[in-house]
Amino acid sequence: MFSDMENLTLAIVLAPLLGSALAGLMSDTLGRKGAHRVTITGVAVSLFLSLYLFNHLVFAGGATINQSVYTWLVSDGIRFEVGFLVDRLTVLMMVVVTFVSLMVHIYTIGYMADDAHNWPQESLAGRNSYQRFFSYISLFTFSMLMLVMANNFLQLFFGWEAVGLVSYLLIGFWSVRESAIYANLKAFLVNRVGDFGFLLGIAAVLMYFNSLDYVTVFENAHLHKDVMVEVIPGSAWSLMTLICILLFIGAMGKSAQFPLHIWLPDSMEGPTPISALIHAATMVTAGIFMVARVSPLYELSETALSFIMVIGAITALFMGFLGLVQNDIKRVVAYSTLSQLGYMTVALGASAYAAGIFHLMTHAFFKALLFLAAGSVIIAMHHDQDMRNMGGLRKYLPITWITSLIGSLALIGAPGFAGFFSKDLIIEAVGQSQLPGSGFAYAAVLAGVFITALYSFRMYFLVFHGKERMDEHTRHHLHETPWVVTLPLILLAIPSVVIGYLMVDELAFGSFFAGSIEVAKSHDVLAVLGANFYGAFAMILHGLLTAPFWLAAAGVATAYVLYMRATWIPAMLAERFSWLHQLLLNKYHMDSLAAGIFGSGSRWLGMGLWRFGDTMVIDGWMVNGSARSVGWVASVLRHIQSGYLFHYAFTMILGLLGLFLYFIV
């Protein structure tokens, strides 16, 4: 069908961009219907072409596509290009991104239908907000595709920043809300910290490899294995460790790893569809994808891998705790996302990249499902997000209820569901890892299973079962959400159940990622596990006997007891261990710490520098001073231009004489 892969890959990327441009620039002409039609068409085209490519690469055995589409510029022999590297890793990401994006697009029709109410009457931004929203999410899809399809670090960085920008725009979508503006600023600033490291990492790659092209860099990586650099005089660092950790700092920002995670819970200020798309399924996994993509470099630095594993483990466990005390339905899901991202990161640290990507994929489906289901609840509750006001909703929202249950089961890793395969793999892979820190990580991810089950089912029971705690007016209006909302839920629920069973063999133990992910022999924990793998069904059976299953079951049981039966216990516990409860409610004081030390500190520093450096030195002396003196010099010099011909001629002679005196005498 497509002989020319270049056009195909370009079409995948450009279709959402075109949709976004049309919806954004012609919002008045297209109207609401036109806007969602063009964007959905654009994303659908991308999805179908991605599926075609998936088939081509995975089933038809097509060769990896690696081509540069356009050379932006060449400087000192280094080419800055736009190009696409489409291998199995990429194509998997493309299908996930476009599929979830398409679901979210459809869902948005229902979610944003009444968006006009969210804006003050006179707000200009409220005009065409519906079309703008569609334009943004299509633009996000374009950016994300650019990121995953890049064949060089420059384009990766472009996509990285572009998704960050759209995320910023969407978190602050309701720009009339103070809290939304604070949240998007926070997301932007925290990401900036990460991006700083990321950019330094790319710069280090460029400096030592003289190329930004993935293939070139990876092929030459082993040449730099033993290079040491002195960043701080006197202490030599391995170049690979330095590059890997710098790049990972970028990933920590984007994928919200401790301690740069603080922006993600606040990002829930954005509309729910984007929480599902950007802050659960796709953008936040960009860091995971990046590390997997750059695996040939990471394999050369055990220090970096250990670092990654420890950071991931901290995130996986401690962010889960925070989910236990939240009352906002979206925030619970957000903390669960943080925790799951921690799992993926741990997998990367254990060199089980395939498991990380596998979990990324399953997580994309079930977490998008959970978010969209939460959104569906929020629609039904007339945009009340407090779980204390819910309960017993299963009667009113049957489809949402069932799909939520499926999502939760997938999340806690109930045997057979998608999450089970990926999460179990990660836990076992960590258990096999020999790297420093793997012991801690193993304990953390095991404990995390219990916590995950606890907060997931706490939310599930609070929302769908128990007493109906909403007020009379709301109860009166409760009804199932429209089909545009429930259809994506159903479509997402299907992969949440089956995708793990179908893919585990191929993805985790097969040669699916051969050529795109490299694992050193000594690190290859998945190969060890693969030796004891006898098929997906056997894995389910085996899963019933392992610790994670019993921990998850214990978590569900505990949740049932605490929130269905003995509902007085949580309150009692909160009172008894109030210091702990406070610590959790304050999110370990990370926010105040960041705001206090970094926020106030840098503000103070900024004020000082501004007063002294900017106002006095730069403005006073340098800018205004030099402007004044240049102006003065200019007004003096212009008088040389007297208008008299003989002055001019004389100047020429003087010039000649000057050259003579300098060069001859």
Binding site: Q641, G643, M652, F660
Partner: protein
């Protein structure tokens, strides 16, 4: 000296131009004022024909003809093609201006074409004699064009100054050439190169001649301290002539410099490189600083032109092929930007109103946002704001001097381009933030407006895609 039968076909573009000049000169006698558009169209057609002919004789190889007086190499052909392009745009810009000012006469176009012919001779010159004659042909045509508006005493004064100072510069150039000839005994550029390499001629004599050559070249380029004519002539000349004067002839002067310094006297590179350092520094400093004090936009652009020439010289003084390519790139970029810059004045002017004071641009954004935006592009490009074209040109020359380790020079160039940004941004400020003094709708002629927008968009597009033009320039200096 043995006579070799010349290969006339190589000079086909020159012959076409000369033939068409003669035809236009005669045909114009029979064309009434109303039908003058025929002359105009014939002029443009001439340039198109010349371009086709140039492309036809263009080759990767170097070919000599007319007993070594004439050369076809990539530099010559490329320069010619750009000269045609720039001249066509300049003529197209001038049409409505000329009509409004009663200057729409055949002589304007004939003199313009002879100037183009002069530039072509310069571009293809391979002996001191042809260089000099080409320069004179160009200069003479330009003197006349500057003074063509007879009812303006300003224009007459400008023409007079230009002529007298130009004659002085020509005389110095000629004297320098005579010294080189005296020292080496030949006019042919490559023979001069070989003779100098073999050690004929005392170095003192050669340097003495070189200084005179340098004065002549610097004058033609308008580099300090031989720049005094530039502001007065740019200011006094009719704007359409200024536009022409500031664009295509700079390309020709650049080639003149390359031919004299690089083709003929590479052995003296250390000497001329030092001279160019002095001239470039003076040009960059004086041009940028004095421009700040200007209230007349034509004078401001004149001083900005002087500073741009200073930047261009940075590329040449690096004395590397990369540097020459960067300078060539700068010359082309400057020609494009300068066309746009003076076209701003043309777009704003109308019958009886020259629009050359900065205050005339106040609040332009409210009168015509699209033209204001285009002006913003051009001003930003001249200031060297990425990603517009001017940025890449500055970057290229600065890279060239950094490559030969003239770090102080690079720092100075960057510093003064910041100083320069001041007066470009002032124009933007006036256009966007000052209150308009008049609210009359801006109605430039359609062709003028379309070309102006195309010109400004070119500055943007070539800035976004800088590679192709840069590669073209580099191809001219592959030895």
């Amino acid at each position: 000296m043995n006579f070799i039968h010349p290969q006339f076909s190589l000079a086909l573009p020159e012959m076409i131009l000369l033939g068409m000049i003669s035809i236009i000169l005669i045909a114009d006698l029979f064309i009434s004022d109303k039908g003058r558009v025929v002359t105009y169209l014939m002029t443009q057609a001439t340039l198109v024909l010349a371009a086709i002919a140039t492309a036809a004789v263009m080759g990767a190889d170097v070919a000599l003809s007319f007993n070594g007086h004439f050369i076809i190499d990539p530099l010559a052909s490329l320069t010619k093609l750009f000269i045609y392009l720039v001249s066509m745009v300049a003529f197209a810009y001038s049409r409505s201006y000329l009509i409004e000012r009663d200057m729409y006469r055949g002589e304007y176009f004939v003199l313009g074409l002879t100037a183009v012919l002069g530039m072509m001779v310069l571009a293809s010159a391979h002996s001191l004699l042809t260089l000099y004659l080409g320069l004179e042909l160009l200069s003479l045509s330009l003197y006349a064009m500057v003074g063509l508006r007879r009812d303006s005493s300003q224009a007459a004064e400008a023409a007079m100054k230009y002529f007298v100072l130009g004659a002085m510069a020509s005389a110095m150039l000629l004297y320098g050439m005579s010294m080189i000839y005296g020292a080496t005994g030949t006019l042919n550029l490559w023979e001069i190169r070989d003779a100098v390499a073999e050690g004929s001629g005392h170095s003192l004599v050669l340097i003495f001649g070189l200084v005179f050559l340098m004065v002549g070249v610097a004058f033609k380029l308008g580099a300090a301290p031989f720049h005094m004519w530039v502001p007065d002539v740019y200011h006094g000349a009719p704007t359409s002539v200024t536009l022409f004067l500031s664009s295509a002839p700079k390309l020709a002067a650049f080639v003149l410099m390359i031919r004299l310094l690089v083709d003929a006297l590479p052995a003296l590179a250390s000497a001329w490189s030092d001279m160019l350092v002095i001239i470039a520094v003076l040009s960059i400093v004086l041009g940028n600083v004095i421009a700040i004090a200007q209230l007349n936009i034509k004078r401001m652009l004149a001083y900005s032109g002087i500073s741009h020439i200073g930047f261009l010289l940075l590329g040449v003084l690096s004395a590397t092929p990369e540097g020459y390519a960067a300078a060539f790139y700068y010359a082309i970029v400057y020609a494009i930007m300068s066309l746009g810059g003076f076209a701003m004045v043309l777009v704003m002017s109308r019958q009886g109103f020259e629009a050359d004071e900065l205050s005339d641009y106040a609040g332009l954004n409210e009168r015509s946002p699209i033209i204001a935006l285009m002006m913003l592009f051009i001003m930003f490009s001249m200031a060297g704001v990425p990603p517009l074209l001017g940025f890449w040109a500055k970057l290229a020359v600065i890279q060239a001097i950094v490559a030969v380790e003239y770090y102080q020079l690079a720092v100075l160039a960057v510093l003064f381009s910041v100083v320069g940004a001041f007066y470009y941004l002032r124009v933007i400020r006036i256009i966007y933030f000052d209150k308009p003094t008049e609210r009359r709708e801006l109605k430039p002629a359609n062709d003028l407006k379309v070309i102006f927008i195309a010109n400004a968009m070119l500055v943007l597009l070539l800035g976004l895609f800088p590679e192709s033009l840069m590669n073209l320039c580099q191809s001219a200096f592959i030895y």
